[in-house]
Symmetry: C2
Subunit: 347 residues, 2 copies
Amino acid sequence: MANLQDVATAAGVSKATVSRYLNRSLELPDRTAKLIDAAIIDLDYTPNPHARRLSLGRSDTIALIVPNISSPFFAALVAAVEAEASDMGLALALYATLNRPDRELSYLDLVRTGHADGLIFITNHAGTDMLAAKINRLPRCVVVDENVVGTHVPKIFCNNRQGGWLAGRHLAQTGHRHVLFIGGVDQMVSGAHRFAGFASAMNEVAGPDYRIERTCGPYTVEAGRNAGHAFVARDPASRPTAIFATSDELLIGLYEILSEAGIAIPHQVSVIGFDDVGPLHLFAPALTAVRQPVRELGQRALRRLLAMDGTDPDKPPSEELLDVTLIERNSVAPPIRPFHRNPNSED
Amino acid sequence: MANLQDVATAAGVSKATVSRYLNRSLELPDRTAKLIDAAIIDLDYTPNPHARRLSLGRSDTIALIVPNISSPFFAALVAAVEAEASDMGLALALYATLNRPDRELSYLDLVRTGHADGLIFITNHAGTDMLAAKINRLPRCVVVDENVVGTHVPKIFCNNRQGGWLAGRHLAQTGHRHVLFIGGVDQMVSGAHRFAGFASAMNEVAGPDYRIERTCGPYTVEAGRNAGHAFVARDPASRPTAIFATSDELLIGLYEILSEAGIAIPHQVSVIGFDDVGPLHLFAPALTAVRQPVRELGQRALRRLLAMDGTDPDKPPSEELLDVTLIERNSVAPPIRPFHRNPNSED
């Protein structure tokens, strides 16, 4: 098989020139570029480590299973893993499940029977025993972002409890005592932890004198719109004075409906988000949110996977929690009216 | 190998129940769900068509090579292909190249030596002979969104010339005669066509009495910021009165810098975008843009690929153009000052 030197010789340039041309760190005159291209085509040179290593029985390909690519959070997470894989000269094969269990199981089978060296697995719904069993059967897998109960593999999550706590503390310290939590179902670890942290912070700051309403569903724009419609339809005098929308997509859906209804943020209701991957700083007003360290999450996932060597199978697998931060912008203000606990209300 | 009926029998439910449970169209009581999960694990049932067909020598897997996943436009395009593949019971393997030629070539080799039934290829830079040669060697490939010159495969693009024309006509009809075009390099078909359409519409509406400035670069947020900085640094009296930013990412970068500089849209400068995939309707003001039919683009790409049967190789491959539309929002207004052509200016 032709190597880099063969191509350089045929094109009449140095090996370094060919290499830098191929990884785009060098702009070449058209004529030189065409000479190199022609040499590569003539020699059928494969300028990548993967195909060469494939022939030695290794793939140097990592698989990544993710719910969907169109969510800003997952898109950024995938991009982070991709950039890290690229730096390491690894290929990355992505599979999007649309959050459907049957597709998750298909892709797990594809990865098991395919040529990937390892898998990073991300789901966005409460897992099942079957899913856990398939994951446990893989030789190298890391579970990221959302837990799959019953899996015995390394796991890396953002600190969801801390994120909920930061949001709750911020709203409570700004004076809010009647708040709406829009979030994932309790069967999902992220949903349960964000809520637990949120409630705990409200309690720490406000004492017993507060009220949290909660609406649960998937982390989608549609679910955010539904929560927004329900909020808008209520008597303004009994609405919560602040809303915690626990994903970028929930926040975007909510924001659309509040805008349409002419409800001003933060003058008529305060809003705080979670993820902070979408362009929330460009909205009007710029939205306050808890930021997940999405790049770090992707990088750590890939490094953790590559560090797995299959030895010491009896050692319990590690679980890593990454810190989140509160990004304060302009969507939280003091409440428009004082809180009066009404013992006859519906909570 | 266990089939659906075996699982249903072992779990004591109907085949339809298992099937609907697996594709998530049915919520089951916890107890029933656990019975089905247990049966599937015990029988090592593979509930997907792909793995079964793999054992018959077909993969039913389509590959998709895309520049990056974190751009809203590509994320939406990938999501459209994924949804279509899911409906057809096909697996989709994605590879993100980070727009680097060496990674494109690696992935093309991976696809050629791998088990995919066909490839949808998307790049975001001017192609090379080498890239075209590799693509032409694949048995089934469709090139989408940006042309790779020299490839003899079916192609599907959005009508970039029409999109540029719609933007140019809108600005010219609103009264603008001195405009800034921020776009891709001319070696990219999208950049060349968007500019040609834009200039042609300005000329149709305004006659000879207009001036277009042009700045070229990649379709990135960073390039949008650079163009924004250059705009802000100019003497306000000689700035263009309107800007056409020809991708969502260019628009977002530009918008950031104009906001920071306190330049009000549309009162001090009109702005129009291209793509309209990101949440431009939530920005302040909501941004006018040319919308690409990104879902249709993804669907058509997959259908065209599946329709290729390898017969009639001498027939020139089809090239399809999809219509784009102008979405008017609040970022374009009449110019702040009349146009005076200055024959001594730098254009």
